[in-house]
């Protein structure tokens, strides 16, 4: 159903702000959870229970002087974090978070942009976002930055293949590339996580690698590379890179929910479809918790382990999953 263009604009503004708020509080959630898992308290000074910590961090980052290496190449150095942050935020536009509502005379869709090829669009934006990391590391004119961006590049390209292949099973089962259709198909059937359990596992693992989170955080292994591609960045430019990483994590969790976990549906709650965003947000919290939990639990992989795992285990498993799904769909 179509809606006036100004509703889309308002909705886009609201969603961007909500995603940024989620990003800010994911950093707090991460620090708190990591601290609890390591028998510490975590940040607890700014506001009650440390709840104002992200706001304090933001004010600090904005007010901080942005240092600039003299050898850095100006334009790419400044544009790189912008590209990464923009593509990360733009990808969230196609993730459906509700069934749509009739407010007064208008119908409001439960997604910012309903495009028929939304799944490919998410991957396309993700592949453009890599440029921010590579160009930023190269333009800093620093060895650590360059090494970090080389690692980022190799890792993201390797795991992007498995990520794309792992969702092929869902696409074949649903018969559509539109995320809205995929969610609707899961309304009255089993969520795709059950028939596509292997696909979900591959998606989750390569998703962790795509967002450079532990145990796949080699691009910014602080013991070896200082901080990877953003070593020479400070202030809000560094903040934009950090934002891109966390928003990518949120978008990827949203994609996992949409593809495998029923989207904004909830079992036995068909009468209250208007609560879709709530269910979506609860599922998002669970997945974000898993991301943080993995970081607290698993040690970092060695580089050759990372590459052989991606190419020799994940890729064949994802390919087999897609093939078997195709055979089952054709014969059943």
């Amino acid at each position: 159903m179509s809606e006036p263009w100004w509703i889309s604009v308002i909705k886009a503004g609201v969603i961007i702000n909500l995603v940024l708020l989620t990003f800010a509080y994911t950093t707090l959630l991460e620090r708190k959870l990591l601290a609890r898992m390591q028998l510490r308290f975590g940040p607890n000074r700014a506001g009650p229970y440390g709840l104002l910590q992200p706001i304090a961090d933001l004010i600090k980052l904005v007010r901080k002087e942005s240092f600039f290496p003299t050898a850095a190449i100006d334009t790419p150095y400044i544009l790189a974090p912008v590209v990464s942050a923009f593509t990360a935020l733009a990808a969230f536009a196609v993730i459906p978070f509700g069934n749509g509502w009739n407010i007064w005379r208008y119908h409001v869709n439960g997604v910012v942009a309903n495009v028929p090829i939304s799944l490919i669009l998410v991957f396309a934006l993700g592949s453009i976002g890599i440029y921010g990391f590579i160009v930023g590391g190269w333009a800093s004119e620093s060895k650590y930055s360059l090494l970090g961006s080389m690692r980022t590049c190799a890792q993201l390209v390797s795991y992007e293949v498995s990520l794309a292949l792992s969702v092929l099973g869902v696409v074949i089962t649903a018969g559509s590339l539109s995320l809205v259709d995929i969610v609707h198909n899961q309304a009255h059937s089993l969520w795709y996580v059950v028939p596509q359990a292997v696909g979900f596992l591959v998606f989750l693992i390569s998703g962790v690698a795509e967002t450079s989170r532990a145990p796949f955080d080699l691009p910014e292994a602080e013991q070896e590379l200082v901080a990877g591609y953003h070593t020479e960045y400070s202030g809000m430019r560094w903040g934009l890179f950090q934002m891109a990483e966390y928003v990518n994590m949120i978008t990827l969790s949203g994609l996992a929910i949409t593809l495998f976990l029923g989207g904004w549906h909830f079992p036995f709650a068909h009468g209250v479809d208007f609560l879709g965003p709530l269910w979506f947000f609860l599922k998002l919290l669970v997945l974000l918790f898993v991301f943080i939990w993995l970081r607290a639990t698993l040690p970092r992989l060695r580089y050759d382990q990372l590459m052989s795992f991606g190419w020799k285990i994940l890729l064949p498993v994802a390919t087999l999953n897609a093939l078997v799904t195709a055979l089952v769909v054709v014969w059943a």
């Binding site: 028929p116 490919i120 669009l121 396309a124 453009i128 440029y131 590579i134 190799a154 390209v157």
Partner: protein, 189 residues
């Protein structure tokens, strides 16, 4: 209103396509040429969008602007400033040949526009809502163009196997690399 918007987007996309194309060949530093080529591919994707080919546009961004160009950037960043050494000018017959080929293509484009412009370009093609959708493209691939599709997939498979074999061959002949690996393994407690 909508027509004006289409024209505005077309003009912006077409001119950025031309400008980034010129930028690709005129930058001396390959690390600037690569982003210009990405811009070129992206503006081509916008032109595809205007032609109702959403799937092709997304595929263009995903495969060419995304995956392929990452490799270009990776190699140029890896080689650093040495990357532009083999192309410092080039022999004159190559330059002459390139200009000749470009001129031939330009003449061809002008001739085609001149032949087709006799009333046929102003017709709007009749397209339905399913035009350019993945369903339609997949159907065409697996019925009318099955042979080309399969041959392409075999060529790609051969290329993948070939690159694996070449990589394995260079690793076997690289004895100094093996020496370093064994030393590292020995040094580890």
């Amino acid at each position: 209103m909508a027509n004006v918007l289409v024209w505005a987007v077309w003009i912006v996309a077409a001119f950025s396509c031309l400008a980034s194309g010129i930028a690709v060949v005129s930058f001396s530093n390959p690390f600037y040429s690569a982003p210009a080529l990405i811009g070129n591919l992206a503006s081509l994707a916008v032109l595809y969008l205007l032609l109702s080919a959403e799937f092709v546009a997304a595929g263009q961004v995903l495969v060419y602007a995304g995956a392929v160009m990452v490799m270009f950037l990776f190699v140029t960043a890896y080689l650093g400033g040495r990357a532009d050494a083999p192309w410092a000018g080039g022999p004159t017959w190559q330059q002459f040949g390139a200009v000749l080929a470009a001129g031939a293509i330009l003449v061809e484009v002008i001739v085609v526009i001149g032949l087709k412009a006799g009333g046929r370009l102003s017709h709007e093609a009749r397209i339905d809502s399913g035009f350019g959708s993945p369903h339609r493209i997949g159907r065409v691939f697996l019925t009318d163009h099955l042979l080309a599709f399969e041959i392409t997939s075999i060529v790609l498979l051969v290329a993948a196997v070939g690159s694996v074999i070449l990589g394995a061959h260079s690793r076997r002949s690289d004895t100094t690399g093996d020496l370093v690996h064994s030393e590292e393994a020995g040094a580890r407690p």
